[in-house]
């Protein structure tokens, strides 16, 4: 279904040639190179093989760009391997599935509708900072089960909790989050038995017969703040851009709200808000016919796998009713995104609200957010997206 493409709602695939040719591409990252794995099957295969490709390396090393120079705290369960990973994940899995509960969805619906009220009343806005950032921050209060006004701090931190706009590795920025978390954990620690937020949940949790350390609790919280920040902001912003460029799809969703679930998955595939995630080889190995030396890095390029023409028909088209859609937008294997139920619910509620309430979205100005990975230039979202909305 070829659609006419507007420049702002088109997210090209920069990986096509390399995925087809070698299926793998090495890029530099602060002197610790990364072999990006690009094909759908090899990404799944490597993600599955956590013994060879570990996550429990030095904290920050599996992230690209590497954060080893700006943080020592291990993100949990994300930067651990089984058996620790299994035990940590079991402590938080049920909590991160609360978004599927009716009351959570109702609260999220109320929240997103009030964001949309604001937008419709104004008639015009800059989506990233005036809509997506506050929406992401306020929705996160539901995931933490903390007071809504906490979000006002987080909004002040900007779009990324570790990175400032002009410096992708800004340790001053990270400290702001750490100080905040220390204060919050101390507050929750005054009455962990009766606390109802995520901090209290973690303070009560038993890990292998002991309580979690403050360091471990911080590790979970940092993951919660960092993992769902720019990813959700990009997904929300890109969704608005997409419907601005493809109003017929919004009209179809209005007529047929049952399509929403599939539309969410398809937009996550197409946008792939997290381009890739690294792993460290525990021994000499091989991916896609290419040797990977022990203690070097690969990355699982979800975004490249999600455009693999061997798996997806018309991979560069958004087909909102796509039925078989084995995308890797939330990762694959034991480390798959813990926040996925929340993110899916945010997008589902947002799309429903847009379909029901919005007649027209018009982009009046924008600035793409282009990531640079070696030779690859990938549009992941926007620095600014100015729209009119009615």
């Amino acid at each position: 279904m070829p659609t006419k493409k507007c420049p702002f709602s088109d997210f090209p695939d920069p990986f096509a040639a390399a995925r087809e040719a070698e299926g793998i591409q090495e890029i530099d990252d602060q002197g610790d190179p990364v072999k990006m794995v690009l094909g759908h099957r090899n990404v799944r295969k490597s993600a599955h093989d956590w013994k060879t490709y570990q996550s429990g390396a030095k904290p920050g090393r599996i992230v690209v760009p590497s954060e080893v120079n700006i943080r020592d705290i291990r993100q949990i369960p994300f930067e651990t391997d089984p058996p620790e990973h299994t035990a940590y994940r079991a402590l938080v899995e049920a909590w991160f599935r609360r978004p599927l509960e009716e009351a959570y969805e109702a609260a999220l619906t109320e929240l997103i509708n009030s964001e949309l009220d604001r937008a419709l009343n104004a008639g015009a806005m800059e989506v990233v900072h005036d809509f997506a950032l506050p929406l992401q921050s306020r929705a996160l209060t539901l995931l933490l089960n903390c007071p809504r006004q906490e979000a006002e701090h987080w909004i002040g931190w900007g779009t990324h909790v570790f990175r400032s706009d002009d410096d992708p590795l800004d340790s001053g920025k990270a400290n702001q989050l750490y100080d905040y978390l220390d204060a919050e954990i101390a507050r929750a620690g005054k009455d962990p038995e009766n606390g109802t937020d995520l901090y209290a949940h973690l303070l009560r949790a038993e890990y292998k017969g002991r309580k979690l350390t403050i360091e471990e609790i911080k590790g979970v919280m940092i993951l919660t703040f960092a993992g769902g920040r720019d990813t959700v902001i990009n997904a929300v912003t890109n969704t608005l851009a997409y419907f601005a460029g493809n109003p017929e799809d919004l009209a179809r969703l209005k007529e047929n709200p049952d399509l929403t679930t599939r539309a969410v998955e398809e937009l996550v595939r197409y946008f792939s808000p997290l381009t890739h995630m690294g792993r460290v080889a525990t021994k000499d190995a091989e991916v896609s016919g290419c040797p990977v030396a022990a203690n070097t890095r690969i990355s699982l390029a979800w975004a490249a796998a999600n455009r693999d023409p061997g798996v997806f028909e018309n991979p560069n088209e958004v087909v909102i009713e796509r039925k078989a859609n084995p995308h890797l937008g939330f990762g694959f294997g034991i480390h798959k995104c813990l926040g996925a139920p929340h993110a899916r619910q945010v997008l589902k509620v947002l799309i429903n609200a847009l379909a029901r309430r919005v007649n027209k979205i018009e982009v009046t100005n924008y600035e793409d957010n282009i990531e640079q990975w070696g030779e690859f230039e990938r549009k992941v979202g926007f620095h600014r997206l100015q729209i009119q909305i009615s």
């Binding site: 759908h40 993600a47 599955h48 995308h327 139920p341």
Partner: protein, 102 residues
């Protein structure tokens, strides 16, 4: 109407019935433990993995190509693995038994 029996990881047996939709939807609507259906049934999350009883394999049939791909690197795969969101409920499934894989 098709009667479908789910055996959970804990060994509990749940008899459910439906005449349309997917097997995953039936399980999720009835809170069968271990079937989450996170992706809503588009073959992306593998949280709907079941093992079909060998004698019922003919009734469900083998997985399609994309489904087979996703199962290839899933945990606890065996020769009777299916992603239950890819199994549509019809009369023909009446009487089958599925074991929850995870």
């Amino acid at each position: 109407m098709a009667n479908i029996t789910f055996i959970t990881q804990a060994g509990k047996s749940l008899k459910l019935a439906a005449d349309s939709g997917s097997v995953m939807e039936l399980a999720v609507n009835n809170n069968v433990p271990g079937i989450d259906g996170d992706c809503g049934g588009v073959c992306s999350c593998a949280t709907c993995h079941v093992h079909v009883a060998p004698e019922d394999w003919e009734k469900t049939g083998a997985p399609g190509d994309l489904e087979k791909d996703m199962l290839e690197f899933d945990d606890n795969v065996n020769e009777f693995s299916r992603l239950s969101c890819q199994i549509s409920i019809t009369e023909a499934l009446d009487g089958i038994t599925l074991k929850v894989a995870n």
